[in-house]
C-alpha cells in the first residue's frame, strides 16, 4: 500500500478521499489555491502545498504545479478526485513518466474514453449498443454544421473532452446551429483545455442510468449495479438513487453485463462508470464512460456496503480485487441530493457569498459529504457544489421520506441554495411514483413555486434588526449580493437585549 498520497482536488471530494486514506493509514497531502488556503480539505490533510493563483488553469488544472507538488512532497501516488485533472490523459501520462501512481485507469484508457469517437467504436465492437452521431476529427465549425444538418434535429452538441454537462447544447432550429457550436467550443476550451465537440441524435425524454464498475490489475472486472441519475438541471445531475425503478432484474443483469463487457473491451482498471441512456421502450445505449470516481458514488456505497475509494487505493497499489460478482447484492435504497449554491428561481444561476450558518442533517443512515463550514466564502472560481447529502433506508418510499425530513433540517445561510427546491422534487407525486426522465425538472413547472413568505419570517427578520442591530447603513450600501465590508460572522452571533 502507498505511504503518502496527494489529493489533486478541493471541496467535498478532497475531504472524502483524505479520510479514506487516513483510514488505511496513508499520509496525505492537500493542494490549495490562494482562496482555499483555509478550506476544510487543507486542514483535514497531514500536509499541504500551495498552488497560488485561484484561476483553475493556474491551480487545480495546472499539471506542472501538481507534479512539482508531488515530487517536492515525496508522494507515491496522486488521487485526482472528479473534475479538474481526473480525466486528463496528459496528466495521467505525466504521472506515469514521473513514477507517481495515478489512482485511476492507464492514460491510454483515459485518452481512448476521452475521445468519444474511438470510445464508441471500441464499445460498439464489444457488442454494446451506441447512439448515432458525428464523432469525427474534423472540428472546423463549417464541417460540424454540415454534419449536424445530416443528423437532423433535435441535435445534441457535447464537449468531446467533457463530462458534467459543461458546454452541452441542444439545437432544435437550424439557424442556431452555428452559434451553439461556437459557444460550446468556447466553454469546453475553458473548462477542459480542449475545444473539440461531438454531435449526436438527441433522444427525447430518456432516463440516464449508469453502472459502477471496478477492475483490478489482475484481469478481474465486476459491476456494483446501477445508479439512476435522471433528475438533472442544465444537464447536470442533482438527485441520484439506487436501485432504479426502471430496471427489472432481467434488464439490470443485461446492462450490468454490457457495462462489464464495455470496460473489459478497453482494458479498464480501477473505479469507473459506464453511462447508458434508456428510452421509453427500455432500449439502452452506451453514452460514455467516466474514467474516475463519480460525484454520486455514495449511493452505491450505501446499498452494496463497499467503500469505493478504499478499493481505488488498493487496486492502484496492485492489490487484487477480492469482491465476487455473485456475492454482491443491493440492500435497501439510497438517494443522494447535491447541495448547490444556486438559485432555482433564477435559472439555477450560481450564487456567491460568505457562508454564515451551516448545520448539516444528522441521524441514522444519513451521510454528509461536505467541504464547507461557517465563515467560508463561496467564490465564482469553482463549481458551486457545496456538499452532498445521502440517505439510506429499507425501501424507496422510506428513503424519500427520510430525505425530505433531512433536507428540512439542513441550514446554509449566506448564499442561495437549492435545498428547498430539492425537497419539492422529492415530494412530487411523479417522483414518488418513480416516473422520472432527464426532463423531469423542465416538465414540472410547479416545482418552481416557492411558498409565499409567512409573517413569521418577516417577524424574524424585523427582530434581527431591532435585537442585534445590523450596521445601519442600508442607504449607503450598493445593491449587491457580493462583498460585505462588515465581517458579518463577527456580528452575527451578537444578540443584545434578549
Amino acid at each position: 500500500m502507498f505511504e503518502k498520497v496527494l489529493i489533486a482536488n478541493r471541496g467535498e471530494i478532497a475531504v472524502r478521499i483524505l479520510t479514506a486514506c487516513h483510514e488505511l493509514g496513508i499520509r496525505t497531502v492537500a493542494v490549495y489555491s490562494e482562496v482555499d488556503a483555509d478550506a476544510p480539505h487543507v486542514r483535514c490533510a497531514d500536509e499541504s502545498y500551495p498552488l497560488g493563483d485561484p484561476q483553475p488553469l493556474e491551480s487545480y488544472l495546472n499539471i506542472d504545479k501538481i507534479i512539482t507538488a508531488c515530487s517536492e512532497m515525496g508522494v507515491d501516488a496522486v488521487h485526482p478526485g472528479y473534475g479538474f485533472l481526473a480525466e486528463n490523459p496528459a496528466f495521467a501520462e505525466r504521472c506515469e513518466r514521473e513514477n507517481i501512481t495515478f489512482i485511476g485507469p492507464h492514460s491510454d484508457v483515459i485518452r481512448l474514453m476521452g475521445h468519444k469517437v474511438e470510445a464508441k467504436t471500441s464499445i460498439k465492437k464489444a457488442g454494446v449498443p451506441v447512439i448515432p452521431g458525428y464523432h469525427g476529427g474534423d472540428q472546423h465549425v463549417d464541417a460540424l454544421v454540415e454534419e449536424g444538418l445530416q443528423i437532423g434535429f433535435p441535435l445534441l452538441i457535447k464537449a468531446a473532452a467533457g463530462g458534467g454537462g459543461k458546454g452541452m447544447r441542444i439545437v432544435t432550429r437550424e439557424e442556431d446551429l452555428k452559434e451553439f457550436i461556437e459557444s460550446c467550443k468556447r466553454e469546453s476550451g475553458k473548462a477542459f483545455g480542449d475545444d473539440s465537440v461531438f454531435l449526436e441524435k438527441y433522444v427525447d425524454r430518456p432516463r440516464h442510468i449508469e453502472f459502477q464498475i471496478l477492475g483490478d490489475h489482475h484481469k478481474k472486472m465486476i459491476h456494483l449495479f446501477e445508479r439512476e441519475c435522471s433528475i438533472q438541471r442544465r444537464h447536470q445531475k442533482i438527485i441520484e438513487e439506487t436501485p432504479s425503478t426502471a430496471l427489472d432484474s432481467q434488464l439490470q443483469e443485461k446492462m450490468g453485463e454490457a457495462a462489464v463487457k464495455a470496460a473489459e473491451a478497453v482494458g479498464y482498471t480501477n473505479a469507473g462508470t459506464v453511462e447508458f441512456m434508456v428510452d421509453g421502450n427500455k432500449n439502452f445505449y452506451f453514452l460514455e464512460m467516466n474514467t474516475r470516481l463519480q460525484v454520486e458514488h455514495p449511493v452505491t456505497e450505501f446499498v452494496t456496503g463497499v467503500d469505493l475509494v478504499k478499493w481505488q487505493l488498493r487496486i492502484a497499489s496492485g492489490e487484487p480485487l477480492t469482491l465476487e460478482q455473485e456475492q454482491l447484492t443491493q440492500r435497501g435504497h439510497a438517494i443522494e441530493c447535491r447541495i448547490y449554491a444556486e438559485d432555482p428561481q433564477n435559472d439555477f444561476l450560481p450564487s456567491t457569498g460568505i457562508l454564515n450558518q451551516v448545520e448539516l442533517p444528522q441521524g441514522v443512515n444519513i451521510r454528509n459529504d461536505s467541504g464547507i463550514e461557517p465563515g467560508m466564502e463561496v467564490t465564482s472560481y469553482y463549481d458551486p457544489l457545496l456538499a452532498k447529502l445521502t440517505v439510506y433506508a429499507e425501501n424507496r418510499g422510506e428513503t424519500i421520506q427520510k430525505m425530505i425530513w433531512a433536507l428540512s433540517t439542513y441550514v446554509i445561510l449566506g448564499v442561495t441554495t437549492n435545498i428547498s427546491f430539492l425537497r419539492r422534487v422529492l415530494a412530487h407525486e411523479s417522483f414518488r411514483r418513480g416516473d422520472i426522465t432527464t426532463h423531469f425538472i423542465q416538465d414540472h413547472e410547479n416545482l418552481f413555486l416557492e411558498p409565499e413568505i409567512p409573517d413569521e419570517a418577516l417577524i424574524a427578520a424585523a427582530l434581527a434588526e431591532t435585537l442585534r442591530m445590523t450596521p445601519q447603513t442600508v442607504e449607503a450600501q450598493p445593491v449587491s449580493g457580493v462583498a460585505d465590508p462588515y465581517s458579518p460572522w463577527k456580528t452575527a452571533e451578537k444578540w443584545s437585549n434578549v
Binding site: 417577524i459 427578520a461 424585523a462
Partner: protein, 169 residues
C-alpha cells in the same frame, strides 16, 4: 420603526414598536405581540400572539436570510417602497459575478426583446444576458474580458417607444 423588505419582487412593510422587553409588530392589518430570546444553538425562540417558532436569521449587507420550518427565505432590506426597482429603467444589470467573454451588440444597435446581448462566464458556465425589451443600445459599459460583479450595470438600452405594451421590464 418602519422596516421594508423585498421578497420575490414583492415589498413588505413591517412596523416595529419596542416595549421594554417585548415588541408590537404590525404586518398589513395584523398586530403581533412578540417576545423573543436567543437559544444556545443560535436560533431565536419567538412567541408572537399564539405562534411559537424558532427561526435562524443572518444579515449580510442588505440581505436577510431567514431559516424557518425547513425553508430558507432570502429577503432584501429596502429603504422605502419607492426603491423596489432601484435600478433605473434601461439599465441591464449583471445577474451574476464573472467575466464577460462575448459581447454580441454595439452601441447604436437596435435589439429585439430576448436578443442576446453578451455572455458572462462564471463557475465554468456561460450565462447569456438578454435584452428585456426591444430598443436601442445606448451604452456598453464593459468590453470582452472585463470582470463584473452581481448587479453591476452592463448595458443601457433605450426602449423602443413605438412598441408600448410589450416593452415591459
Amino acid at each position: 420603526m418602519e422596516l421594508y423588505y423585498e421578497h420575490k419582487n414583492c415589498m413588505y412593510k413591517v412596523d416595529v414598536e419596542q416595549r421594554s422587553d417585548t415588541w408590537e409588530i404590525h404586518i398589513n392589518d395584523k398586530v403581533y405581540q412578540v417576545s423573543a430570546s436567543e437559544l444556545k444553538d443560535g436560533r431565536i425562540h419567538v412567541t408572537a400572539n399564539d405562534l411559537v417558532f424558532r427561526p435562524r436569521v443572518y444579515c449580510n449587507g442588505q440581505n436577510r436570510f431567514v431559516f424557518l420550518n425547513g425553508e430558507t427565505y432570502r429577503l432584501k432590506r429596502a429603504v422605502r417602497f419607492s426603491t423596489t426597482h432601484d435600478h433605473v429603467e434601461g439599465e441591464i444589470l449583471s445577474p451574476i459575478g464573472g467575466k464577460i467573454v462575448k459581447v454580441f451588440v454595439g452601441e447604436g444597435d437596435i435589439v429585439q426583446k430576448k436578443q442576446d446581448l453578451l455572455i458572462i462566464e462564471s463557475m465554468k458556465m456561460e450565462h447569456r444576458v438578454k435584452s428585456p425589451v426591444k430598443g436601442t443600445v445606448m451604452r456598453l459599459r464593459y468590453g470582452e474580458g472585463a470582470i463584473v460583479d452581481t448587479n453591476e450595470v452592463l448595458v443601457d438600452i433605450e426602449r423602443d417607444k413605438s412598441t408600448n405594451g410589450q416593452g415591459e421590464w
